[in-house]
Symmetry: D2
Subunit: 284 residues, 4 copies
């Protein structure tokens, strides 16, 4: 694996931004590998993801941020600098439904994910064995309405100790408190088992069945304080017919959920997502 740097940038659109960014890299002998740019003309915002090889780059890794900050300031950029050699640490939260967990455990093991799965947290003990089988630490944090806040504090402590960068809710059946959510802004990914904004909230397959829809979906999104209202990362759908019972829909939906959640996690870990205005720009 070659070492690369990636900049994720958003700023008010004006002339010369792209030239300035690419000039910075060229002047310092960087070789651009990927460059993807987008302008929201309605809001006049410039977005960019640019990745370049650090092989022969004149500025040492630890000084790139400072060097770039002059350009960033000039254009009032919001920006992040990432190195592909910094592997993010990941925690999965799960309850009893296990299909997304199994799927993610395999994908991390098979190196499909550019992240380091460090631990799994659950409010139940049911999935302890499979997690341990994969050599991953498992933590049991049961929750009640009364204990939720206190337990979340312990969870946050554990996450901090393990330098967790990304939290994945793999069908975690507990609603997180605003305090918890605020601690990981745009760093908690949830899978919702419907095609949002259809069927926000509980029992979406049952409601899809009642409504008689011909297609069901799944949606992965960043968690915000508003339930199921966070920025959508990925969605996918599958056809159903009158022959599909609720159980049949749930079965079909499981395969969707796995793929849609895995894709969101992969995009996040590859630094391909920019969030603004409760929406996402995905640089695939």
């Amino acid at each position: 694996m070659k070492e690369t740097a990636t900049l994720l940038i958003s700023c008010p659109d004006r002339k010369g931004i792209l030239s300035e960014i690419t000039g910075f890299i060229a002047r310092n002998d960087g070789n651009i590998i990927h460059a993807d740019q987008h302008i929201d003309f309605q809001k006049e915002i410039f977005f960019m993801r640019i990745e370049w090889s650090l092989d022969g780059f004149k500025i040492p890794k630890e000084k790139i941020a400072t060097a770039f900050s002059f350009i960033a300031d000039k254009f009032s950029m919001k920006w992040e600098l990432k190195f592909n050699t910094d592997i993010p640490s990941v925690a999965i939260f799960v309850s009893k439904y296990d299909h997304c967990l199994y799927d993610l455990l395999y994908r991390f093991k098979a190196n499909e994910m550019k992240g380091n799965l460090k631990l799994v947290i659950s409010n139940h003990k049911d999935l302890e064995n499979v997690v341990k089988m994969y050599g991953i630490d498992f933590y049991h944090f049961p929750k009640t309405k009364e204990t939720k806040e206190k337990v979340e504090e312990e969870e946050l402590k554990l996450l901090k100790e393990n330098d967790i960068d990304l939290i994945v809710l793999a069908r975690y059946m507990q609603i997180l408190t605003p305090k918890f959510v605020k601690a990981y802004p745009n760093r908690i990914i949830n899978i919702h088992h419907s095609f949002l904004p259809a069927f926000v909230g509980a029992r979406p397959y049952h409601r899809a069945y009642e409504r008689g829809v011909k297609i069901i979906g799944a949606t992965s999104h960043y968690v915000t304080e508003d339930l199921d209202q966070g920025p959508i990362i990925e969605q996918d759908v599958v056809r159903v017919t009158h022959r599909d019972t609720i159980e049949g829909m749930i079965k079909k939906g499981r395969d969707l959920e796995k793929v849609v959640l895995a894709k969101a996690v992969r995009l996040h870990l590859e630094n391909k997502i920019l969030v603004y205005d409760n929406k996402t720009v995905i640089f695939e």
Copy 2:
């Protein structure tokens, strides 16, 4: 084209229904061409679509209904008997958006539809020429809030005079009154430009854009008194990204709308739809 009869049946499920129906056809020397059956186990309802060749069938066409009614009564069936030689008459309602109209005009002309397009009604004059180019009668019925009820009466009169069996709302931008809807139960098909139940009501593409969805859809449904709440016939979707502006979404959506509306009309004209409980059973 061989002459066939089709029965669409629904009734409480119990033993022996299928045997009785197929026995009726076999005893009278009918050759079954298609038979499709479905049971809703939750509600214990039996559904069937069965089509047989009338070539050599012992009961004359006009007496089949009477002959079958004995079986129908025994099982408390709701049923319809259709002959493929009875071509239904169709009216299209349209306003200014013309993509679905053009699409349907072509499909009727090309004999993709087992129906007879008799007339087009519009609250604007814009599309008169194209309709006439295809040799179809065009009627202009402008409407205001005040005149709506009165105009609808004239429309109903015209529809009746023309023995219209099916009304297709091809992006018709007027909401029909309950009285009008009641005159054509499960015989008015609308295209809604979203993946229902997401974005019920006006300006769905704008709201999809605001929400940042990654997939947009279109839904064809029978019109009931509740706006966009009728039985869904067909849905389809297409991917969008952050690069799609609202205009881009509208453009992509137009292709969806055409296909989804055309499919619903085709299914209806081929007697492949059974409605119950505000849902559809589609016998494809």
Copy 3:
């Protein structure tokens, strides 16, 4: 789980078949749960899958076949009688690619499959541990060109001892001999990593990349003596762009392969596939 019987039937089409079959079930007080019928008008063949509850059925389970054979003979039927309480035994063959294996191990464990996964055979030892982790027997049968025939005999012996009904090739990188294939006609399912008949044979992703296709696919099919020419059971596709490298295509393809193979296995185990003329009729 209620006990049911399923008949899979094909025969020359003529009048009265459906009536005779359903009459047989009705006379003996069977309650039909699913009935699906199809006629190939080009070849004049009748196909049917019919499933009924044995609750209250007058003929004892073990005598149904004899009782039905009178009807079967009358219409020159090819037919199979299956009971949902007879759970088929399954063997998986695998080499080193592990994604389909992991996927199937999970699905059998999670009871998504109406089969009993008894054993896994591999020409390598790499996947022994994961198979055993799931509590499934693992057998290592290395093969060379010289030993293939002899090893296959040992495999056949093992399969016979375990009463294996279905063999699943989960990216098994050995071509089976005609003798082996003949021992399990329409009972060996393979996954091919292309949209057949495009890219028959080796390295399909590489050839898809070279050709510059915009969509790649996967195909599950029964194995016959002609490589990749057997009856197709299921296919699915995914979009690719110029940005997808060969490695990227392989990654995307893996998710396809898992879903397409799993669906074929599920359909087979639920007795929903009829084979004729090197094609399949799928009664979903």
Copy 4:
């Protein structure tokens, strides 16, 4: 419509290309609207599509090419400069199948296409009326094996007189001679009614039916001297089942063909396609 310039560039990849291109635009006060870049790492080729507003651009339109050629030469670029105000002229070739023709006529009329449809050429007279209804010139050029070369010369003359930039074969049932093809390199778009490379050549739906595939497709591609082997622009697919007869497949396929051909034409007219190595890079 704002005036913009678009550069389509390919060249051997090396450091500094992107910076040089964007610097050229920035120095001259151009505002970049879209920039999309791609590197084929296997072949070490750099691709770019960049579009900028000419509003306030310091170099006059007619001198941009000369000014840019210094950069182009430095990096050994193949490049094209396009202005969105230069509307390309389009000719459609058609035989008797009319669905793609109707579809394109509507799309040009509805301004979905950034091109000027000037004329339609056919080897039959059947579609003369509809073409004229849309106010487009129609030319009848019947062909036999013997007259083909001579007729093609007349066609080429007509195309030249009308400054045709793009030829669209909308189910044109004549194979063009290599001489004709060479006159419009990467400027003739064909629709093939299969998912290439499956079913190259004649009667693909019949062969798909025979093979028992579960998905059929359509492919739009640039025409080269090798039949159905040219660079693929767009593909799409639709599911079929055992219930689909050949006629049913053809019907389903028609909707695919329309969409897939229209998309290719749109991409070409918006200067979003780069061809290299018998493949396409699509900058959507």
